[in-house]
């Protein structure tokens, strides 16, 4: 070591100073280490519980397991709504190195226009956390899935994800009965059970899907999984399986429903058929229908506008919301009202000169046949659908007694069990008018109601229900759509009392008259009653859409199609043991006997003769197999 002579070095003092400073350093080192140890003690002992919880929250994620939605079937087990697997494309932005390039490649592979890159880029930023997948495209077709599979190695971070989507086969004919599911909207989120719907994207919006939402949805399960920091699931720590929604078997017979839809042939109208013994709705057709599948993933603005602006209103469920004047179809019920209230007897006759005049009024209320039917009793009044007889009956009965009696058949109120959105119709009375318009009831208005016009409005479902109760000799049945939920049969509540008449034979009198409508020489629907294989009771109706001025004559050729009369027909058969009751309405089709009665006849034939046909076929089938 070189040492300079000119410096004064006191080695002893130097070593002493160094030793002191070293000791000080040791103290400091121990102090700082103590600080570290204290910090570690704080973290690992004092706060241990907090951090163990936090580390578990980090790695353990609870994922909802949405239940599979219950299926919908017709009464014979034909599938009406199912869940189909569809494939969505998702992206995990964190795992993509070059977003722009990857999306460009994706667009190339799938053959999408270049301009979609920007839209996809926006979608890939939907998620707040970079390791959560964002939905890029939904409902990939099989070709796209194949192309993605082949190019998968070039697309890190892009995944194809399976999802079950509601699908409605034969959607047009069933659309109004089933309704549809759609994406849960902001309004619905507020009222939903968030736990149970955590993994669910769709909810019933209308129809059966809405009515039985809670049962169809089922109960969500959940699974606890361990994930890494990038959100990848490494293993399952525990799980509660979801309870799938219940399958619902409807009372609808798909074949009958389809026949009804085809008979209406795209025209505006509705057919409702009910089994009188049970109240089961066999068919509930509203025409035209629509493609409910469009609503499942979210209908496009253009498609929706198309449906909304269609003058035939395909979204409108005529069977339960269409309110029509029931017209002459209610004459058998009025006859019973007259008998029950002692206003008429079966033998009592009225002379019809072609019109009816209220006492001390000059206005003439015309019979549909201008020259009149002459002398008519109750039976003939129903068979020829004489208006004058019923003007007189209604006048003598008075509106309130008439309304009371009609309520017993379910007119003017909702009596169905599980038909979502059913309208109540209007059964007018003096009280109703006072409440609704603040006006007194005029006797002339009773006459309009007496032939099923005026304020009286009824839905096809109500007409069919009333006809079923009529066919049952007054025994009430509640119309319903669900036959079985899972394996449990549905027993709808009896919402109204059975109707007991003072004289049981009156039912037979009315049935006889209605049978003559089909088969009598004067019957209005005799052309539809030819070659019947069973005893059928029917009643036609023709509802005025356009009110003619007094003494003005109805001339179909001169009126716009939309102002033509609605054709109505109600029927049931066989009379001795009714298997089906039906109401048919064809909007603006003209007279009910010629335009609605043939449809009703075909429906009844199909339903009543079908079982025999099937019985005939059955042995042949078994021989083949």
């Amino acid at each position: 070591m070189p040492k300079r002579r000119d410096t004064l070095k006191d080695t002893e003092q130097e070593v002493r100073v160094f030793r002191n400073r070293s000791l000080l350093a040791v103290l400091l080192v121990l102090l700082m280490s103590g600080g570290l140890a204290a910090r570690l003690f704080y973290l690992q002992v004092v706060q241990h519980d907090v951090f163990i919880t936090r580390s578990d929250q980090n790695r353990v994620r609870v994922e909802p397991l949405p239940p599979n939605r219950g299926l919908l079937m017709d009464r014979n087990g034909v599938l009406l709504a199912e869940n189909r697997p569809t494939y969505n494309l998702t992206i995990v932005p964190e795992r993509v190195d070059d977003l722009e390039a990857t999306l460009g490649l994706l667009v190339d592979i799938l053959g999408l226009p270049e301009s979609d890159v920007a839209a996809l880029k926006a979608r890939s930023r939907q998620r707040q956390r970079p390791f959560q997948p964002a939905l890029l495209l939904s409902e990939l077709d099989e070709r796209q899935i194949a192309q993605l599979a082949v190019n998968r190695y070039r697309l890190p971070g892009i995944e194809v994800e399976a999802q079950l989507l509601r699908y409605y086969p034969d959607t047009d004919i069933m659309s109004h009965v089933l309704g549809y599911v759609g994406r849960i909207n902001a309004e619905e989120v507020k009222t939903l059970d968030k736990g149970n719907y955590a993994g669910t994207h769709f909810i019933g919006k209308t129809g059966i899907e809405r009515e039985y939402e809670a049962l169809l949805h089922g109960t969500a399960g959940l699974r606890k999984v361990e994930t890494n920091a990038r959100g990848r699931v490494l293993r399952e720590l525990g799980r509660t399986d979801p309870v799938p929604g219940q399958d619902i078997t409807l009372t609808i017979d798909k074949q009958l429903q389809q026949l009804g839809y085809e008979l209406l042939d795209g025209r505006r109208g509705s057919i409702v058929a009910i089994e009188p013994a049970t109240g089961e709705i066999l068919a509930m057709v509203s025409s035209p229908g629509f493609d409910a599948n469009l609503f499942v993933t979210g209908i496009s603005h253009r498609d929706y506008q198309g449906l909304r602006s269609n003058p035939d209103l395909p979204l409108y469920n005529r069977a339960i919301r269409g309110q029509y004047p029931p017209a002459s179809t209610i004459k058998p019920f009025e006859a019973l009202a007259g008998l029950e209230n002692g206003v008429i007897t079966p033998k009592k006759t009225v002379y019809d000169p072609g019109f009816y005049k209220l006492p001390e009024h000059s206005r003439r209320y015309h019979n549909w046949l201008r020259w009149g039917h002459g002398r008519v009793d109750m039976r003939r009044a129903i068979v020829v659908s004489n208006d004058t007889y019923f003007y007189n009956l209604a006048h003598e009965l008075g509106i309130d007694r008439l309304a009371d009696f009609m309520h017993r058949f379910g007119f003017g109120e909702v009596t169905s069990h599980d038909v979502h959105g059913a309208a109540s119709g209007v059964m007018p009375s003096s009280e109703w008018k006072r409440e609704r318009y603040g006006q007194v009831w005029f006797p002339g208005e009773t006459l309009s109601v007496g032939i099923g016009q005026g304020y009286w409005l009824s839905t096809p479902l109500q007409l069919a229900t009333a006809t079923a109760v009529l066919a049952n000799r007054g025994e009430w049945v509640t119309p319903h759509l669900a036959k079985r939920i899972g394996d449990e049969p549905v027993e709808p509540p009896q919402v109204k009392d059975d109707i007991e008449l003072a004289n049981e034979e009156w039912w037979d009198l009315v049935y006889g008259a209605m049978e003559d409508v089909m088969t009598g020489s004067e019957g209005t629907a005799r052309r539809s009653g030819e070659d019947l294989d069973y005893r059928m009771a029917g009643k036609s109706g023709t509802a005025q859409v356009f009110t003619l001025a007094n003494d003005e004559r109805y001339n179909a050729a001169e009126l716009e199609e939309r102002l033509h009369d609605h054709a109505l027909f109600t029927a049931f058969a066989p009379i001795e043991n009714p298997g089906i009751a039906i109401a048919v309405i064809v909007e603006n089709a003209g007279g009910g006997s010629s335009n609605a009665a043939p449809l009703a006849r075909k429906m009844l034939d199909a339903w009543l003769l079908r079982e025999e046909a099937e019985l005939d076929e059955a042995p042949i089938r078994s021989e083949e197999s």
């Binding site: 004064l8 280490s33 570290l36 706060q47």
Partner: protein, 380 residues
């Protein structure tokens, strides 16, 4: 029995003496060497787990440690006199390289730290300065009377200040502070007067706002995040939240080797480099943390013993400074990972997966061994 014992004792004594002389002959300190090997072994164990049980990472670290150990062995062979003579040239070279980095350095990780001779070497001059700086200051003071006089202190301030400013401008605030502190330790150990220390302390406090104004945005963010990690839980605060969660969830006994969820599931960032001690804390618990801390303290203790038994000023000051700087690395790293210090890029000595830092550290211990093993027998 008694007879046997007494006849055996001299033999044993002789064998110990011979072994010690062997260690002296190859210029190594067995205590320091043993402690360092235990530390490195423990480090490799933790690294295996922290790397996600990837053996290639462990073998890569093994290679780096091998290079570092060789560097240590080689440096131990030089006499302190040689090191003393090399101090000025090495300092001058390091300073020039820092200027070169300033002019044409390679940008890595947003900071300009590397000097690259393409195809030959990537080199961080600041790493070199970690060792050369205390050597230079000690060499300067070696010839002066101690405690240092004001004139000498001012010269030292210049020797320290110029490279520190250059490193800080790269920008690498952490390293510049560590390099600076290594040199300041020399001054403190040399007996810098308490009055001056107090004055400099005040000056440093006064300079804080100035430092703040000259910080880069990311550096300020780090300080702010340190003060309140929850303010930015997904960004800069993520590291601290995850590392404290890892350590805290380890508890007293730890979750077990390779069973730490925070580290194995990749919630812990930088888990095999700067934040490796969080893996240790999570998997080996408080017991593991205290053991590793104890190991570091034993190394520091041995270093200070060597410093105090050094025979000249240069040896004393260099050995003391290197030892204390080593402790500072440990303290800053564990303090940062456990959330009591802001996040600065300091690896855990000889445990973190880091090449350059390991070489520098073991080179430092090589110098310590040189000082220990080249003592002239006469002075004893």
């Amino acid at each position: 029995m008694r007879l046997q014992e007494s006849t055996l004792l001299p033999n044993r004594g002789r064998s110990i003496k011979r072994r010690r002389s062997l260690w002296l002959r190859i210029h190594l300190d067995p205590w320091l060497l043993g402690l360092l090997f235990v530390l490195m072994l423990a480090g490799l164990l933790v690294l295996y787990s922290a790397s996600g049980q990837r053996m290639p990472v462990v073998t890569a670290q093994l290679t780096r440690l091998g290079v570092a150990v060789v560097t240590m062995l080689v440096l131990a062979q030089f006499t302190p006199g040689t090191l003393y003579r090399w101090s000025l040239p090495l300092y001058a070279a390091g300073f020039l390289m820092l200027i070169a980095v300033e002019v044409m350095g390679d940008v890595g990780m947003g900071a300009q730290r590397w000097l690259v001779i393409p195809g030959v070497i990537r080199f961080q001059p600041s790493e070199l300065m970690k060792l050369v700086m205390p050597m230079m200051v000690a060499a300067y003071l070696h010839r002066r009377p101690l405690p240092p006089r004001l004139k000498d202190i001012l010269v030292c301030a210049l020797i320290i200040g110029a490279p520190v400013v250059l490193i800080a401008r790269q920008p690498d605030l952490g390293t510049s502070l560590l390099v600076g502190s290594a040199a300041v330790f020399v001054l403190l150990l040399a007996g810098l007067s308490w009055r001056l220390i107090g004055f400099l302390g005040l000056l440093a406090a006064a300079a804080m706002p100035l430092l703040w104004l000259n910080m880069h945005a990311y550096q300020r963010q780090r300080v702010l995040t340190f003060l309140n990690p929850e303010s930015d839980p997904l960004g800069a605060g993520w590291n601290i939240i995850q590392s404290t969660t890892a350590i805290g969830s380890g508890g007293v006994e730890g979750k077990g080797w390779t069973l730490g969820t925070q580290s194995q599931l990749e919630f812990l960032p930088e888990r095999h480099t700067d934040f490796i001690v969080a893996v240790l804390g999570e998997e080996f618990g408080l017991i593991g943390m205290l053991l590793i801390l104890m190991l570091y303290l034993l190394i520091v203790a041995r270093g200070l013993v060597i410093a105090n038994s050094a025979q000249d000023t240069f040896g004393r000051l260099v050995a003391g400074s290197i030892t204390l700087t080593f402790f500072i690395y440990v303290f800053v790293n564990i303090g940062m990972v456990s959330g009591i210090l802001p996040v600065v890029g300091v690896p855990l000595p000889l445990v973190s997966f880091a090449g350059t830092s390991s070489v520098t550290l073991l080179a430092g211990f090589g110098i310590l061994m040189s000082i220990q093993s080249h003592r002239r027998l006469l002075a004893r």
